[in-house]
Point group: D2
Chain length 455, copies 4
């Protein structure tokens, strides 16, 4: 769960990178960074914190240059430490390289060991440094060649923007797990995790970067390469991006997040036989599904939970005995909306189940007579190895437990998940997906458990 941006232009672009990163802040709030080439050198600034807090106007003004990349990070692999902030910037064979990465490798530990055996010294503990080191090792003057060799080594999910002094390269792994979109604004090329980072600059989206594709922006032109000539891309676009992670305005691999989410709500509402008064979304993630559910069921949509707009910022953690405050500060039930009502509560997914449990309790305390929880995706039963920060299987409420068990745990009157096939149908088959978190069908063989645990 990270966001990346790359801009190739012929004018200073620090501020554009800033706005782009700001627009994809939802993809990572832990740290952020910008690296910019002025043609001769790459300068950068990165730090823990939000885009709006890390960058001051004067600093952006000092980051001169027309090629640049940016990153927002939510820690997955690699701890929460300044050394893991991206972009990573280094020098090899007398040239400078910068790299920003979204995704997760499944063989990072193996590769790290291999490089350590060869005498390399790692200074961070992220997958990204592994990629950078392999890239440097095989770089002999042709960046595309070294990227292809690197792609032979690294397995898993990666969308990358790589920058040299005079070129910008975008790379998407052969399965296309993580999104990467290409846009254009006049003579300027923009790569970004989500199209909103292009929209914000007034640019237009051209297309997705293809699985296994390497696009180089250099000398004012774009050139496309593929990982291997014989390579047949098998797109495995992460379905969880569409369900939860991307913004509603994201169109990734031809699927629009909002349309898909509404559709899932509609599908879920079919064949319902419960009698309810209102449809209540869990804000903000459940809104689109609730709109769909309301459309189809003709039940009125009502805001039964008010979200505090300031949550997500710094907040002193409640003690155990103040535990309910933690949920209430985020979501306060609207008692006069829910009192005495039978409600259909719509959310996009259930992971641990703990938040759902507290929400259901708070709605009951506010007087709801019946609570029917409807989830616009299937039960999450498997961990993700490709960059979504799902917890270990043992913490997934749906792992090894049936729906009735989950219902009882959460405490709602009824519970339904969206069927996996109906979910895929709702995408209108515009792409092929990785649904491993639901069905355990991992496109890239996961490594043994021991190794993964130590990642």
């Amino acid at each position: 769960m990270c966001g990346i941006v790359g801009i190739y232009s012929n004018k200073d672009i620090a501020k554009e990178l800033y706005y782009s990163l700001y627009s994809i802040q939802h993809r990572g709030q832990e740290s952020c960074g910008i690296a910019i080439s002025n043609g001769d050198n790459i300068n950068y600034k990165k730090d823990m914190g939000l885009v709006g807090d890390v960058f001051k106007e004067s600093e952006l003004a000092n980051l001169k240059g027309s090629i640049g990349i940016g990153h927002v990070r939510y820690s997955t692999a690699g701890g929460s430490h300044l050394a893991n902030c991206q972009p990573l910037v280094g020098r090899c064979r007398k040239r400078e390289l910068a790299l920003a990465h979204n995704g997760n490798l499944v063989n990072a530990n193996y590769l790290r060991d291999m490089l350590e055996e060869d005498g390399y010294m790692f200074q961070a503990n992220s997958d990204t440094e592994v990629i950078l080191y392999i890239l440097a090792r095989y770089y002999k003057g042709d960046i595309v060649e070294s990227i292809k060799i690197t792609m032979d080594y690294i397995k898993g999910a990666y969308s990358l923007v790589i920058m040299g002094e005079d070129e910008l390269v975008a790379v998407r792994d052969p399965h296309g797990f993580r999104p990467l979109v290409l846009g254009k604004k006049g003579d300027e090329y923009i790569f970004a995790s989500e199209n909103c980072a292009i929209d914000i600059l007034g640019g237009e989206v051209i297309r997705d970067v293809e699985p296994g594709e390497i696009i180089v922006a250099k000398d004012g032109k774009l050139k496309s390469y593929f990982y291997s000539e014989n390579y047949k891309p098998v797109k495995r676009s992460c379905i969880f991006e569409h369900i939860y992670f991307a913004r509603n305005d994201a169109t990734i691999d031809n699927v629009n997040a909002y349309d898909f989410r509404v559709k899932c709500g509609e599908v879920l509402a079919k064949d319902e036989d419960i009698k309810a008064d209102i449809v209540v979304p869990v804000p903000d993630s459940g809104w689109a599904g609730a709109v769909g559910y309301s459309n189809e069921s003709k039940l009125p949509l009502s805001e039964g939970l008010v979200k505090n707009r300031y949550v997500g910022r710094t907040f002193i953690k409640p003690t155990q005995e103040e535990r309910e405050i933690g949920v209430k500060i985020k979501l306060n039930p609207l008692s006069n909306v829910v009192k005495g009502k039978s409600i259909v509560l719509v959310d996009d997914s259930v992971v641990r189940g703990t938040t759902s449990k507290l929400i259901v309790k708070s709605l009951r305390d506010a007087g709801a007579s019946e609570i029917h929880l409807r989830i616009t995706s299937p039960p999450v039963q498997y961990s993700c190895y490709y960059g979504i920060d799902t917890p270990h299987r043992s913490n997934l409420i749906a792992s090894g437990n049936d729906v009735e068990y989950i219902r009882e745990y959460i405490g709602c009157d009824s519970l339904k998940f969206l069927d996996i096939d109906l979910m895929v149908e709702a995408t209108e088959n515009k792409a092929t997906f990785c649904k491993a978190c639901f069905d355990g069908d991992y496109p890239v063989k996961k490594l043994d458990r021991e190794e993964l645990l130590s990642c």
Copy 2:
């Protein structure tokens, strides 16, 4: 536009004040503060910034005491300066007093001059210091007496929480412009601008403080007084709180904000003869009205604008030529929702008209074929003297201009406002209101323009 909280308890309440203020952060983001009495002394901490940023856990732990007040501030009168942060804390006649204030006096300048003539020295430039000084001047041992005298002097809108070493007092002005709610949690009494600050603590709402009422919490008991025995309260609850300012979960003077907002949308949808495809809310303020409009019109509700959850934080201001970025970073149109559609765009109010104009343009750029703007309140034609930060009349688009003029300025295909009488009807007459911003009928005579400008 400020928020206040007061808690009278028999245990340490710094952290409760923190959570309460956090929940009403939407009422003021400029500065915040907490003052707490340990029985002998009042200690405080206040600073520019958000609740989550200003207070650290260790500092709260140091603010010992069981009586306390808190404040979040959005500057209205008085500039943006540390000296204007509240609560104000002072010492008079060997006792300490702290004061937090929501509202705006109409005769603050006159009173300030009067006190200056008498040799008083003002150190801030807020209305609140004026109230504190009068309170101190007439305090002779009985806080209720001095409050009554103070209420003789001060004219306008004020909800106050006042704290002495051993007592907490809540005061609402004789018209009850600004909200003030009384709650209870066990032996603990809580006063707050909105009920969410009581809900968050797990307390229950008892009732609104009445116009002209003075409630004293002391020696474990509550006692109620009125400004004047012969005083007949004429409630003039600010309608704009219900339209825009309060959270959806607020119930002020018996009117629930969410219900009212939905109702306004429903009323507006009646007698419509336009043909449209979808109803699109301006997030977040237009959601409730759009839900109502959709209910009544049977047109489907669709999210056509995505709001960036991180806006409101620090943000480097776009230059003039990047002007559209300022709107897009906040609201990005969902082009595949709006493309080729005739949309009903719903918002709660139009003040300057500039934001509406930019939203309409951005929806058109995204391909909307027709845009029918519907506003769930009447045109704002008059400035507010009672604490809502409306601009000077000359900047109100509806001041002196008819609806057609506004429509042309905003650039939408049609524009309708909610009729003022229908709006009042939508409140179900649960209270009487100040609607001066719409009809110019000011409950408290405003002072002459010169004086007000210099406020």
Copy 3:
């Protein structure tokens, strides 16, 4: 222990105030502030911390105006709190006033009670606010008149700079306890606690402000007034400024600190019959006295203790068991200088005796064979009520104890203080002094103990 500066010019002077305050930073490290009048308004910035940390270049650039005052504060009366930072700025009778104060009143509590009785509200708890309120109360358009009345009320030590929108006033109390110097640079007038604040700007010192004098800079001219026409100033210049507090380059009331300190060392060396090898100063305060002692005794001066230049900055307090680290981080003995030597250790004063004790121990540990401590002032036996932060009498090692007792406590082989009469002789009678801390002869009757303790 504070430092003040005032500048009256016809060009922007924020940066000059900054440099001046920087040069008198030794007079107070707790907080600092600058207030500047642009002719119409007074703007200010003040905060906890050092001059170099509080002020940024951009902020100084925003403080436009040609009249200004500044303050550095070391808390004496009034706790360590933002509200006590100076200058204090307020508005009375439609004009703004700013005030910075060095010194301590002996009747502040009495005056505060008096004003509270009259309905005034105090927002800080410093003497300075008392002065400001009395000034405001009696201000009727003529600043000099109100200052004279204020001087009738306030008793004790005060050097003040007071600023209105168009004038700057310097005031020194009738005894002239605290220093205040007048300087000039072209058309510009400068008042400052020490001449280094004038030197730094390239200005020249004109003279000391006289006891009881009020100097007004207005309309480009200086005008001098006196507290009372019949008033005969009896200068009681604080001798401790000359002994310790002022910088070596200060000339206050005609006495140069460095000359005086050297002289005291010389006087002390006369009639000595000890046999010693070297003279070692306690840095930095003992250097001048040690130079004098070495001159007179012909014993070579040697640096036996090295001072860490970074002490005084933030420093994590050693625990009890690391207690000696606290001294060593400040002063490390030069073992090869002191080993086997009989040394004369020179310091300027002994207050609690604890530091001397630890220094003597550390020199012994480093191998000194004999340590003869020589103090270039008499024993401090009485607390100061006029602004020097001496501890309560019970903590003064010399209060009620004879020299032999002190010697034993400190652990040196011999101990001598400078005789009080010889000390005065060393000033060459250039001024008359307050020596109350040595002889208990308080020029202004101190108030009763109870009241003072609660100050």
Copy 4:
């Protein structure tokens, strides 16, 4: 110009490292850091700024472990950037290593190119990363072996502390350019750039680490190795450490800085035939020499320049026209000491000559009748390649110019430097020295100019 510390203990040592670094803060004020091994992992904290500002008590408490190293940095090679802060910490062959370095390599660029050719990626641009990478490359399980190989590669000046999870290693280059002292406190071993870092902890100095020596602390014992069995150490202790850089209490390679500095002043005073009234030191660097000069010449020592204790902290840079303020804020002449006097001004060295020029001017403005500048070292004619931050030769006033030229530039009445042979004599031949900055005799062949400039 950096300072390093290493501690091997059996209890938590974060706070000891903190105090040690605090005591050698004079060796580097740009950044600082601490890395500590808890036996399994190395954790660290480093940042731009001073020791007292970077480390908070709570953070130190979190850095658990009994083996640790620390660093204070004054940038020489490698720009001023967070990436260049030390210690560097990395992982190679499944173990972690941390490294702190004082000194400068002469072949860093060559080595960096070599490693880049082999596919290594540099993330900082300091010499230290080069050392770390070579160390990692040749590390095969025996740290001493890999250090020896590394020492084959790296040429120039380096004192190192290297830490693995369970061992601490101290290394000094074969010429011993930079100091490194071994101390002991109970069972604890301490390595540090200067003995004050040992003194502060209450430890005792054992001896200097020898040129070419590798000392390993492991399993509670010390073991000493040498770079090469046949290696004959030729000590080339940096004379400039003794002249200027080390604290007065430093004893490096048997030479005590204070004794040496005093001696240099004495030597310089011999055969003088000028008639002067007083000896004035340039504080603080000229004090010891001035004491020696005064001893020998029998001229009285006088403080003619007062140093502001707060300079060195944050300070807004004066503009060109305020240029003299920059000197005056640092050093203010004591006019009544120098007025009408013929003074011998003593400083330790002249590099660019600009500061001396401004000091001389400011003493003349203060009334000095004659100024005879005496420098207790020879003219600095050559740049240092071993870690002292002397400017390029073209900026050295003594490079290519004779003494008369320098005298005229500085504007003093006479000027004398200490003869190079007399300087060496003053060390009493306790060591052999690198004096390359004075005589151009570089112990390690410098590389060609081009390469060095690009360092």
